[in-house]
Symmetry: C2
Subunit: 106 residues, 2 copies
Amino acid sequence: MRRDVFQAIADPTRRAIISLLALQAMTPNAIAEHFQSSRQAVSKHIQILSECQLVSQKQTGREIYYHFNAQKMKEVDVWMDQFRALWETRFSQLDNVLQNLKNKQS
Amino acid sequence: MRRDVFQAIADPTRRAIISLLALQAMTPNAIAEHFQSSRQAVSKHIQILSECQLVSQKQTGREIYYHFNAQKMKEVDVWMDQFRALWETRFSQLDNVLQNLKNKQS
DNA sequence: TATATTTGCAATCAAACGGTTGCAAAAAGA
DNA sequence: TCTTTTTGCAACCGTTTGATTGCAAATATA
């Protein structure tokens, strides 16, 4: 059972849950109201998000508020650092120049 | 069959393939040499990367060179924009201040 | 032309995924 | 106390995933 951030954000429902929790901490029931699938299905998604520490829980009475952990999401950003230079405008333009030179050669 | 960038980068082997191709375009055989699994398994990963346009192919004779498409990866970066403010130092410090105030109250 | 190399496609299989229903535990309210 | 609400856990089920093996097509080489 793989449980990393990349696998967690692969599912569109989980991405939607994350976007919700980034705005405001919420209970499972409140989250589930935003989706068509059952509360248990949503709860399973929350569990997966918990296991990879994208969300943390804070219990108050019988309600559990789930909080988004932005620091964990940063891991994705760090991985993408290796590509960031490739899509920046300056480098893309250089790439075009090189491509044009290559085309003229052949 | 979902075929989006998020699902594509969920698999660690595919992430490794992407990192390889970001440095240099390569043939399936050359890519497969970097992994323990079979050439066909790697080829299937390449196919998935192709379907979501993270890589493009350029055939020369019987060899096919696969190129990384950084623009497509940018889609992940765009999605992460909504969280970026949350992990920036200035906001984290503000968060700490608020947390301290809250702790003093209770 | 005959052989070797490179690649994609099809069939198969165990494991994981995403969903459902049912149920039990704990807290809140009548 | 009895009932309702909120939640997690377990069992189950069809589909998808990631891997394997075998084979055919196309190109390069002897």
